[in-house]
């Protein structure tokens, strides 16, 4: 049992999301940054899609009422019973220990995973909180959480070296997109503006969508409104203001603004971790290229999982003036 002693910001239980109910208007939800969240799960020996805690900017303070193995993922200061401990590492907590998670130095979302995963009521097949529709709720002080039963030995002490962690410290990011589908609602200039300009993430951004500020994207004579059609996380809608809104994991399932592009799956975490003020530029790729990028990312995640499980070794290699990480198994 874990007791939340203080919850300074938005703290929710999330897992890989809710599929199969979008045709009833229910958003997917799930990890905003599935790359970090899956690593958090791997660090404690869980499958990648297990329910864990997602915090916005500042983490909670909590007490363990039974021993547990946990890992905090994010660029953040972590203390266990007042002693600083490493993030991106799994630790053993004993009964009575207090965990304090500070404020992220970079990025927006941090994760706390527990070996065995957080026990929760699955609603429509998922633990992911989507409070607007009564699917879970934001956690608050004095809430208690249960962790799934699991053998803890061998789950602690797993560590992900800095070079293997995603870096969200840049205030300029490039996000790759597949153009369309509503390109006929934009002028050629409008599409060029979108692909060649820099946009800034505004504070009016949340799990539902990120609003961007920047040069106005010109609509064609067909205008900004379409007959309401499907939306997915990553869809870039451009309403009458000409400023893009990128739909995120809590996106409504359908929408009535023309979509100029869709952020590719592999780059959605990068955008999710972009703080207000971050400069975002968009680069066009084909669906085929997007798929290759995603395949490479999945291979990396798989290698990280095997590395944390002790099945692979990782070597830092410098060649041709660049740093590479080399994974090697037993020969």
């Amino acid at each position: 049992m874990i007791e939340l002693l203080s919850v300074p910001s938005l703290l929710t239980v999330q897992d890989a999301g809710r599929t199969g109910y979008r045709k009833l208007g229910v958003p997917v939800s799930g990890f905003m940054d599935d790359f970090s969240a899956r690593i958090a799960n791997y660090l404690v020996g869980n499958p990648g899609d297990f329910p864990l805690l997602e915090f916005l900017l500042t983490g909670p303070k909590l007490r363990f009422n039974a021993s547990a193995v946990f890992a905090v993922v994010g660029d953040v200061e972590v203390k266990l019973d007042g002693t600083p401990i490493e993030p991106w590492m799994s630790h053993w907590a004993k009964r009575g220990d207090i965990l304090e998670v500070g404020t992220l130095r970079s990025g927006l979302y941090g994760y706390i995973a527990f070996a065995g995963g957080i026990k929760c009521e699955r609603l429509l097949g998922s633990c992911s909180a989507y409070p607007r529709a009564g699917l879970g709720r934001p956690l608050k002080t004095s809430d208690r959480l249960s962790v799934g039963h699991v053998i803890l030995t061998g789950k602690e002490g797993r560590f992900l070296p800095r070079k293997l962690r995603p870096d969200y410290s840049s205030n300029k990011v490039e996000v790759r997109v597949v153009l369309g589908p509503d390109l006929d609602h934009f002028t050629q200039d409008g599409i060029e503006t979108f692909l060649s300009s820099t946009y800034t993430v505004t504070p009016e951004s949340d799990r539902m969508g990120y609003r961007l500020e920047g040069p106005v994207i010109e609509h064609s004579e067909k205008g900004p409104d379409i007959v309401t059609g499907p939306l997915i996380p990553g869809s870039v809608q451009v309403p009458g203001s000409g400023r893009p809104i990128v739909m995120m994991k809590d996106a409504q399932t359908t929408g009535g603004y023309a979509k100029i592009a869709t952020v590719i799956t592999a780059d959605l975490p990068v955008l999710a971790q972009s703080r207000p003020g971050t400069e975002v530029s968009f680069r066009r790729v084909t669906p085929q290229e997007a798929r290759e990028i995603l395949k490479r990312r999945e291979k990396t995640l798989e290698a990280i999982r095997e590395f944390l499980d002790g099945k692979l070794r990782a070597y830092s290699v410098r060649a041709l003036g660049k740093d590479f990480i080399l994974f090697a198994g037993k020969i």
Binding site: L24, L123, R132, A133, Q188, K222, T228, G229, G234, T254
Partner: protein, 263 residues
């Protein structure tokens, strides 16, 4: 001779002439206008969009649902889910299991499925019109030069078809209301619209399943629960259902409300 729209599309795509992928997109458009009545376009790397034009029409929508069911009926291992809307649907797939082209090839033969096979249920929605439950009904009457009773009679005198669910869990997009009661949205949306509120926006009518902000003109409220994650299925309405609004009085409203929300 090319019409203006085709010209416009040519302009949009002209800039990417050397790009193979966009040439293919371009061909999709040409096909759409010259031969076929549909187009299939990528919606990112994990979904494709099948569109039968930009229309709100019962027949086109019936086809959307027939195609959605046909796709769901196949045993595609890459299929995640299908999201139908008015005249288009998204096919969400696992990009690690199939490419856009493969998914496109797999769904194309299913697009000519007969739409007549699709029949929804008939559902009656009790509704308490006017008063604090429908604070805009007088405006709707006045705007259209009618009495409040006329508005109720016209709104409840028609069978609506659920075209799709979206916007909020359980929010049903219904076929259009009679032109005589069409009314524009509020200039300033309300910050809180209670669950069950029935609204009109232009010729659209719909029910707010959960409390949310909203700009539709409120005509009344139903005591029924439109979305309950603990029920299976979680939504009262399903795409294709035929809906009739049945006027009730305040006593009936609270009786049903109690059974639905407390029972």
């Amino acid at each position: 001779m090319k019409n203006k729209l085709e010209k416009d599309i040519e302009d949009v795509f002209g800039m990417f002439k050397e790009d193979l992928h966009l040439q293919r997109l371009r061909q999709e458009w040409d096909r759409h206008f010259d031969v076929d009545d549909y187009r299939i376009l990528p919606l990112g790397d994990s979904a494709l969009l099948i569109s039968f034009g930009e229309v709100i029409d019962d027949e086109v929508n019936a086809r959307v649902h027939a195609v959605a069911r046909a796709i769901e009926g196949e045993d595609f291992e890459w299929l995640v889910e299908v999201v139908p809307a008015y005249s288009s649907l998204a096919v969400i797939f696992d990009p690690l299991k199939a490419t856009f082209e493969e998914v496109k090839r797999a769904v194309e033969p299913l697009l000519d499925v007969s739409a007549e096979t699709f029949k929804g249920r008939k559902i009656e929605i009790p509704i308490l019109y006017g008063g604090e439950y429908g604070p805009d009904i007088e405006f709707i009457a006045e705007y259209n030069g009618l009495s409040v009773d006329d508005v109720i009679e016209i709104h409840s005198g028609k069978t609506y078809r659920v075209h799709f669910l979206g916007f909020l869990p359980g929010f049903a997009y219904l076929s259009p209301v009679d032109e005589r009661i069409a009314t524009p949205r509020l200039e300033r949306p309300r910050l809180k619209v209670p669950a069950g509120s029935v609204g009109i926006a232009g010729r659209q009518t719909g029910i707010y399943p959960i409390e949310s902000p909203g700009g539709w003109r409120l005509i009344g409220r139903t005591p029924l629960k439109l979305f309950d994650p603990k029920r299976d299925p979680p939504t009262l309405l399903q795409p294709g259902d035929e809906v009739r609004f049945v006027p009730i009085d305040e006593e009936e409203f609270w009786e049903i409300h109690k059974a639905e929300w407390e029972g």
